[in-house]
Symmetry: C2
Subunit: 555 residues, 2 copies
């Protein structure tokens, strides 16, 4: 049996190794376009930053063995052929045709089963000058190695990063923290990470970036790039110019499905290769896996692409199983993200509010701030969280969170529940692992479901952290914190009335609060503000709200 895999990253190699394990007699070939393969591309930013010493670490096993052709042949029984760029698939003859060594010669390989794992390609804005020297997409190993060399030899003083998504944010950290490079980050949208989080979370990221010394320009389009005496100049849509030594384009990626399309395989609305749940393409002898594939959302059944190393690896294994007559399935996906930006960890699962608004969903939202371990245990750190759920049935649709502490436990819990179509009741029903060094007696997701439930029954409005600055001027802000807390995180209320009464004293001092417009209570994380709002609710008929998530949810 001849197996050909096109592509030498996570997904393709996983498929190849799996097949070789299950069918040791199969001839398994992996065709790799360039020189580099088996690299952990998600590690590029951490190699650039210096967190990872040498580029070889991105290719090696935990014991330091570099995964080269010899390794795959001797240990995995897989033949890897580098510099073999596949130019066409002849489905009738069951052959793939390659240009070898940059076109110096050609080669063809027969297949019984073919795996397409061609990954994704960067989307570069179609503007003049985008191909200038010094303008890079941060997708090729060679570029990353070159950049690191230039950083080590102090050749780069300033960069412009175009696109505030995952990679863009990781690169702000990578260029700035270790190497002290001056960074301008520009993004077309009105907030960072706009595909996965909403503005109130993004504001906290922005505040961190600014604190670290990154300059951010939002709603900023690039009109033109020019190269001028070794500097790259970007002109934004206002005509203003920013200069730098390098420009890194991180405006996202698109499925690399050209070869599949050329071969007549079905592709979908996203441009990704269409596959069934066994990851078979429209040709049953051809499978596809990784970033080149179009997947289905577990939330709304819509087609999408989720170019993530975790999904790609798992798809590779499923393809391997199925080619060897297994019956493995790759289900719909939620989109579970985690990213480190300086000292922050930001995570999400499911879509953000912007998406559901566009789609016309009737959603409710709640926010909360809770510590990642018991407040008295050293290093306890607040997590800011947002939950989006469906109004009619409480199904959880999205989760976003940000912290300087531990985020992953709560994120994985949320992702699993969203994936299973779970509701707020499932949040409330989690059995979590508790001990003071690791968690609170209640899980943060318990609290989030409680907040949602309380807010719907108590006639108290949750004011989004994003809207706090926009409250009308006749709003009274009632700050129920103690003076030492107020000092660490003072509120800027503009023209609005502000009253400070610690919640402990509020019952006796309720008369001090006038009630012309709305009253919004504020505490550090939201709990005491709720207690205060309940006290007011019993005696007042005006609109009452709380700053959801508390002062610690404000940038």
């Amino acid at each position: 049996m001849d197996i050909v895999v096109i592509g030498g990253s996570a997904s393709g190699l996983k498929a190849a190794c799996r097949i070789s394990r299950l069918q040791p007699d199969a001839k398994v070939r992996v065709l790799v376009k360039d020189k580099y393969f088996a690299t952990s591309n998600c590690g590029f930013p951490f190699f650039l930053s210096g967190d990872v010493d040498s580029f070889d670490r991105l290719i090696d096993t935990p014991n330091g063995t570099v995964k080269d052709e010899k390794y795959f042949r001797d240990v995995k029984g897989v033949e890897v052929l580098i510099k073999h760029e596949v130019v066409s698939i002849d489905r009738a003859a069951r052959l793939v045709r390659c240009k070898v060594d940059g076109g110096t010669r050609e080669a063809t390989f027969p297949y019984d089963k073919l795996v397409i794992a061609t990954g994704s390609i960067p989307v570069a804005p179609a503007i003049p000058g985008v191909d200038s020297n010094g303008v890079l997409t941060f997708s090729r190993a060679e570029d990353v190695i070159q950049l690191r060399k230039e950083l080590e030899t102090n050749k780069i003083e300033k960069v412009i990063i175009v696109g505030g998504g995952f990679i863009g944010l990781e690169l702000c950290d990578a260029f700035h923290s270790m190497w002290g490079v001056d960074v301008d980050l520009v993004d077309l949208q009105n907030h960072l990470l706009s595909n996965i989080v909403d503005i109130e979370i993004a504001k906290l990221i922005e505040a961190e970036l600014i604190k670290q010394g990154i300059r951010i320009q939002l709603e900023c389009g690039c009109r033109e790039i020019i190269e001028e005496s070794n500097r790259i100049c970007i002109f934004d849509n206002e005509g203003d110019m920013i200069q730098a030594d390098r420009v890194i384009l991180t405006s996202g990626v698109t499925p690399n499905s050209g070869l599949a399309r050329l071969a007549g395989l079905d592709t979908g609305v996203t441009g990704g290769i269409k596959v069934n749940e066994k990851l078979q393409t429209s040709d049953p002898d051809i499978y596809a896996c990784g970033d080149c594939v179009e997947l289905t959302s577990a939330i709304d059944g819509e087609a999408g692409t989720w170019p993530m190393g975790s999904l790609a690896s798992r798809m590779g294994r499923v393809v391997g199983d199925n080619i060897c007559n297994g019956d493995s399935k790759f289900g719909p996906v939620v989109g579970t993200n985690v990213i480190k930006v300086f000292d922050l960890t930001v995570g999400s699962a499911g879509y953000n509010s912007a998406y559901f608004e566009e789609q016309g969903y009737e959603t409710e939202v709640c926010w909360g701030t809770f510590h990642d371990r018991l407040h008295y245990y050293p290093d306890a750190t607040p997590i800011n969280m947002k939950v989006i759920y469906e109004r009619s049935n409480n199904r959880v649709l999205g989760f976003q969170a940000i912290t300087r502490g531990e985020l992953v436990p709560v994120l994985t819990e949320a992702a699993q529940i969203i994936r299973n179509g779970g509701t707020l009741d499932d949040f409330a029903d989690i059995e979590h692992a508790y001990a003071p060094p690791y968690a609170l007696p209640f899980d943060p997701l318990h609290y989030m479901s409680f907040i949602a439930e309380n807010s719907r029954t108590a006639r108290i409005k949750l004011v989004s952290p994003a809207d706090f600055d926009e409250l009308p001027n006749d709003t009274t802000i009632l700050d129920v914190r103690i003076p030492s807390e107020i000092k660490t995180k003072p509120l800027n209320v503009g023209e609005k009335t502000k009253i400070e009464i610690p919640v402990e004293d509020l019952r006796k001092r309720l008369d001090e609060i006038n009630c012309d417009g709305m009253i919004v209570t504020v505490c550090q994380t939201g709990g005491r503000a709720w207690d205060a709002a309940l006290m007011l609710r019993r005696t007042r008929s005006c609109n009452i709200g709380i700053l959801a998530g508390g002062a610690l949810f404000l940038p």
Copy 2:
């Protein structure tokens, strides 16, 4: 409406506050036996250790407000009465009777609804001298405060801890790390944490304790305790004596259900108060929550007690809801544990192998060792894991893990799947949050399901880390690691033959391996051992196994 809550810890207070929120006009009284209430008892070991500065921290809110009677009255609308020991419940008259201030006076309180949240009481071995001065159970706040004072003033040089469960292990750390106290830990069983983990995990804990300087005596019963010139002497079942300044009994707890039993309420086989899923006792006007309650296992439906702060808190809220005409349920439990022992984090969900053997379950087991983040990212640390699953249907029954890194994400994932009756397929189907600083492209639980699947199809035996030393002498150990790895973790194989061939060279050197008995391949974590075993399997007919979880799973 008169509400009376008996007990001032997590569960009772949560119920009280919830009722006061939902029905602000109700009169809610909490009767507390002693002086202390609202303390985080799970924090006692961390106060003792010095990680937590002052005892008040265990009672305060994150902003430092101590939760005293005034706090509950003014903020929560709940009346707390300390030194009110309830001596009987008159169900006909709907009254509870108290001894106040140690019996100097009496008081009765009427109730419309009653909540019993009396917690648990320590089990002390019934041996002579167990009541001696200096023998403590580490359950009373007064004792903990006194111990800390004695540590601060260097009054304690040596302690004996009787019982290697959660609290016992946390106390080894607490006494030894900060205060340098000499610790003897004795336990009746053949391994530590015997209720929740199996011996191969326990051995790793033991190795850490020994490294830290703790003396451990297993299978060691206490026959008698005597007090002699300010020293406490324990005589074990062999008649040998150990001396210390203090003896701490941490042999577990039992539901404090005497009052409920006296009132004629149903209790179960465990001694806990019987409740329905609304946490109502056999008297519909009386609810019970927290450690005094008997719960049901989500795994086998058996009755059990799970004295855990997390479950207690959640039960309190459910009781509060239901007393206010809500419809909240408290489902069956899995038993999800996490504990910090020196630098180790140990966790489990579900029962251990010992339990299933006793119950006659047909189970399969697998072990694995995987890093908590990408191996090239700083601080990447292996996690040792064990999964127990049902042979007939692959349902996951138990999960155990230990690491010096991050454990909680994988533990919460496993606990949720076990709780939902999930199988290994559900492990394989997790969508986890991946980025190099936080995770691997595959989740550790993906890998665990792959190991289970592989081991059942490949005619290769998984050798338990617990059995590695017990392999017959005609076993050949094939170590496929590279020399630098072997140096960091050499194998002790006794009389057995040991051959060292790195997996990269094995294909060519297969002939060097003789095959009289079984061949067991070994690498650092298990993956290469598997590759090696597969190479052997193709050419050999003898028994082939791998050291499951690799050398890093050995103590």
